[in-house]
């Protein structure tokens, strides 16, 4: 291993990717987190940073359709990939259903975790998840301090079991 293989933290690299369907080309320090690039460089502030440790899930975004934690990824790792944030899901029919279900079930209070919850559920839906239990299992990696999760469960059960009383 030589030091030339490993750039210094403040060294910059080119980042070429798509974000919410649009091409993005940026020069970023290699140590800069994806969450910071999305929030502070691209003004995509729907994702939130709650733990900077990959635990809470508030920063969840879609990378090539899969849910990832933007706070534990370097921005340069997104090079060549497709990134989607909540802002990119304005016209997504399932995302709209999730938003409506969350509001109707009172599944959010402070709302800080909500963006990550929606993107996680969207990834789950896109992956063909067909049971509420599986969706809830996936969502168990997204933390919420306010709601006690009961109404989140109600919203998710409603989404995956249309027509049934989620209670």
């Amino acid at each position: 291993m030589t030091t030339t293989d490993h750039p210094a933290p403040a060294d910059e690299r080119d980042l070429t990717c798509t974000v919410n369907g649009a091409p993005v080309q940026l020069r970023v320090p290699v140590r800069r987190l994806l969450s910071d690039v999305l929030r502070d460089d691209l003004d995509l502030t729907a994702l939130q940073v709650g733990c900077e440790d990959g635990v809470c899930g508030a920063c969840t975004v879609l990378l090539d359709g899969e849910a990832v934690r933007a706070c534990t990824m370097l921005a340069v790792q997104a090079d060549g990939h497709d990134v989607v944030t909540l802002e990119g899901l304005r016209d997504d029919p399932f995302a709209s259903e999730v938003k409506r279900a969350f509001s109707q079930a009172h599944a959010l209070q402070c709302g800080f975790c909500t963006s990550g919850m929606i993107t996680t559920l969207l990834a789950c839906h896109n992956a063909g998840c067909d049971s509420p239990d599986e969706a809830l299992h996936e969502l168990s990696g997204n933390l919420c301090r306010c709601t006690g999760y009961l109404n989140i469960r109600r919203a998710v059960r409603g989404l995956w079991q249309e027509g049934e009383d989620p209670r």
């Binding site: 709650g50 509001s103 963006s115 009961l150």
Partner: protein, 792 residues
């Protein structure tokens, strides 16, 4: 999920669609689900600089030298300021209320001379970019001479621990007592006396959004604007202006959306004052966004309390006297008067029970740990203590726990009742709600089922906990407790010339849904559609001076005063309308924004009245002033109470010590609910904190005083799959006669009942006394060992 108890639910006289009592969806959700919220980190400021704090790596140490030269030399660094330098610009945080038994205390803006806990801020670094600021913070060289740390309550009580604050005679910050009747004599002569201990672990508020602020100094206007998510905008402004020595009119506090608080965003922190001072000094907007590690190590902690109790009782199980000894670990500095939290535990130990001979003494102790502060239901432990006592008495007299509670429980016919701690209970339903809960749970059937399961060798237990939840805390409470401050709230309700309605109060929401709730209240009071009511909170330039959000006072103090103002404004509208229509105001009402006479539209709208009030004042009735604005203030009673009973069935899995909650029922009397959906959401959230506080959450310090739980990997936050599967809720709302609208407040009882009912269910399952929380798998395995080997 909720069974509305129609016999006990107050109906407002004339239901306003979307008004009080309606489970309408929240207006806040529109922006929050779209990601269009504006939390602190989402705000944009030209020329923004970022602040980072250098913090102590020791629990207790003397600072012998600080060198910031290398940090200052880093390109992009705007300033590095140490505690000694900052002390020239910012005055200390001083807590010195005139309270007998409480020592005054000061905290320097940043540590100077000594650091008192792991995480104590030592210096502030400001740079053009957060990454640079972090780099620079690492280059600040601080030389420490470590000192022995005070970490053990018993050593501090014995006077053998190192002194935390060298200006005080000991680590006992506060020493108070209360006595009612003659408990000493009853305890000395009673045939039956038990001694019971309760110990609760240190916990962290851990809102998902950590603390932070952006301070902007406008040189031209000589005005400081602090953007921060505080629960109490007006008191925060007073505090920050005082700390900086800036006249209060030169300070504005603006609250963005707030990502949770639970009591943590209740003061202007030392860090906030430092950031504001630097913004003023540098002429740059400065932002501090705390990271999770800082939040868990240095924001506020809570709940590290112990209670030792003696109880005298009759052979039948009637409690005759109680003596309680309360101890609390308060940490290294006082952000609040030392008695603030522990006193309420003492005050609420009598709970819903009849005994009168009672005394408590409390000692609040300093330690070399993070400072303590109120965390949603700071008094939560009282319910475990009282209900644990009832279970112990039941065991001692060989009776069922519910039977013993019935012997001691207050009846509604005994109200108003002055408790052994001097609290006057009115408008509560301790027996009625208890019996509704017992019935909904099917208590006898559950006990029979439990006996069958236990015969199969399963460790199943049932916990019952009655909660008296103190809320709202009026000015008389603060005065009696010796704590400076007020319990009032103020509201300004306005109708503009075009008929647009707005309400503003001193409340600031951190997730509760106040914008929705206040619109419902004002719509109800005025007789207009709620969607036409703007709610303006969290900008000190707008609302009147109110005391903000704390102690479950949003609906009672905030909703109550908004209702008073709205009703007054409706009365003015009706006077103007009556003059116009040549009738009496009593003949008219307002519905859906229209003036109504004898159930029929009278041909005038609120908008028409607004046009007269502002644009045609000569047409107003004699003595009526132009405009449609009402400002009201409301000081609630010393204390407001709601009550509930929690019933929990839990099973312990012996191999892992895992606790599985198999049934959870709450019957609650929280008075008139403004929005039942939001109230249920508050109960869910409170219950989750109660469960997590019982089973897992624990701030752990090493023997050297270092915080070992400084990330969400180590601080076990409750996850979705760890929450009880289902909550069965029975509303038993009897209106509160002393709050406009009949509300009672209810956001903390779920924590109180949750800790108590779950702990007692686990204790019942294990068959040994549980005297210490949290009930982690490891701890339960130790207790099981004790169950199986009683001689060990």
């Amino acid at each position: 999920m909720s069974l509305l108890d129609s016999t006990h639910t107050e109906q407002t006289s004339a239901r306003v669609p979307g008004g009080i009592g309606e489970p309408v969806a929240r207006r806040e959700d529109l922006r929050l689900v779209e990601g269009q919220s504006a939390y602190l980190g989402d705000l944009r400021f030209p020329g923004l600089a970022e602040a980072v704090f250098v913090r102590s790596p020791h629990a207790h140490a003397r600072i012998t030298a600080i060198s910031a030269d290398r940090a200052r030399a880093l390109p992009g660094v705007l300033a590095v300021v140490t505690g000694a330098e900052l002390a020239e610009w910012v005055s200390p945080w001083r807590i010195a209320p005139d309270i007998a038994g409480l020592h005054p205390m000061s905290a320097p803006p940043l540590a100077t001379g000594t650091v008192r806990f792991h995480g104590d801020p030592v210096a502030i670094v400001v740079a053009r970019d957060r990454y640079l600021a972090e780099d620079a913070a690492e280059l600040v060289e601080v030389t420490y001479e470590p000192l022995p740390a005070a970490l053990d309550l018993s050593e501090s009580l014995a006077g053998t621990a190192p002194l935390v604050d060298e200006t005080l005679p000991s680590n006992v910050l506060c020493d108070q007592s209360h006595v009612n009747g003659n408990p000493a004599e009853v305890l000395a002569t009673a045939a039956h006396v038990l001694r019971i201990s309760f110990s609760q672990q240190r916990q962290a508020h851990a809102p998902l959004e950590p603390r932070g602020c952006v301070a902007v100094w406008d040189r031209a206007g000589r005005r400081l604007t602090v953007h921060t998510g505080t629960q109490v905008p007006a008191p925060y402004r007073t505090a920050i202006a005082g700390r900086l020595g800036v006249p209060e009119h030169q300070v504005r506090v603006v609250c963005p959306d707030v990502g949770g608080s639970f009591g943590q965003k209740l003061v202007a922190y030392r860090e906030d004052a430092a950031v504001a001072a630097l913004a003023r000094r540098l002429g740059h907007p400065v932002r501090w966004r705390e990271d999770r590690r800082e939040n868990l190590v240095s924001a506020l902690h809570a709940r590290e309390d112990e209670v030792d109790l003696e109880v005298a009782f009759t052979a039948e199980g009637v409690v005759r006297a109680v003596r309680a000894r309360l101890r609390s670990d308060f940490g290294a500095y006082a952000y609040f008067p030392g008695n603030y939290m522990l006193q309420v535990i003492g005050m609420m130990i009598p709970g819903p029970y009849r005994f009168q001979d009672f005394e408590y003494d409390l000692k609040v102790l300093l330690s070399n740990k993070c400072p303590a502060g109120p965390y949603r239901a700071p008094m939560a432990m009282c319910t475990w203590v009282t209900e644990g006592m009832m279970d112990a008495v039941a065991r001692a007299v060989g009776k069922d726990p519910v039977e013993v509670r019935r012997l001691n429980l207050l009846e509604e016919s005994e109200l108003p009742y002055q408790s052994a701690a001097g609290q006057v209970y009115t408008d509560i339903t301790p027996t009625r709600t208890f019996e509704r809960g017992i019935e909904a749970f099917g208590y006898e059937r559950e006990r029979a089922e439990q006996a069958r399961e236990r015969a199969e060798g399963r460790l199943v237990g049932i916990g019952v906990a009655s909660v008296i939840e103190p809320t709202t805390y009026g000015s008389a409470f603060y005065k009696l407790a010796g704590i400076p401050g007020s319990g009032h709230e103020a509201a300004l309700v306005r109708i503009a010339p075009t008929g647009v309605v707005s309400v503003s109060t001193g409340l600031m929401g951190t997730g509760q849904g106040y914008e929705t709730m206040l619109a419902q209240v004002v719509a109800d009071g005025l007789g207009v559609p709620p969607e036409t009511v703007d709610v303006l909170l969290g900008d000190t330039d707008v609302p009147p001076y109110g005391m903000g959000s704390r102690g479950s006072r949003g609906a009672t103090a905030g909703g109550g005063v908004a209702l008073l103002a709205a009703r007054d404004l409706r009365d003015k509208i009706l006077r103007i309308a009556a003059h116009r229509l040549d009738t009496e105001p009593a003949e008219l009402s307002v519905a859906d924004g229209r003036i109504v006479r004898a159930g029929e539209p009278a041909g005038l709208t609120v908008r028409d009245i607004a046009a007269i009030a502002y644009l045609d004042p000569v047409s107003l009735p004699p003595g009526v002033e132009p405009g449609l604005e009402v400002l009201r203030a409301f000081d609630p009673p010393p204390m407001t109470f709601s009550n509930s009973v929690h019933l929990c069935r839990a099973e312990v899995l012996p191999d892992t010590g895992t606790v599985r909650i198999s049934r959870y029922v709450v019957a609650e009397d929280a008075g008139q609910l403004i929005n039942p959906m939001l109230a249920e959401g508050q109960l869910h959230g409170a219950l989750a904190l109660g469960i997590a506080g019982t089973l897992q959450e624990h701030v752990v310090y090493s023997p050297a005083g270092l915080n070992l739980t400084d990330s969400f990997r180590d601080y076990p936050f409750l996850a979705l799959d760890e929450m009880v599967e289902r909550l069965e809720l029975v509303h038993c709302g009897t209106p509160n006669q002393r709050i406009p609208g009949g509300m009672k407040g209810m956001s903390e009882g779920g924590v109180m009942g949750g800790i108590a009912a779950l702990t007692l269910a686990v204790q019942d399952a294990l068959g040994v006394p549980v005297d210490r929380l949290p009930l982690t798998g490891e701890r339960i395995c130790l207790l099981l060992d004790r169950t199986n080997n009683p001689d060990r």
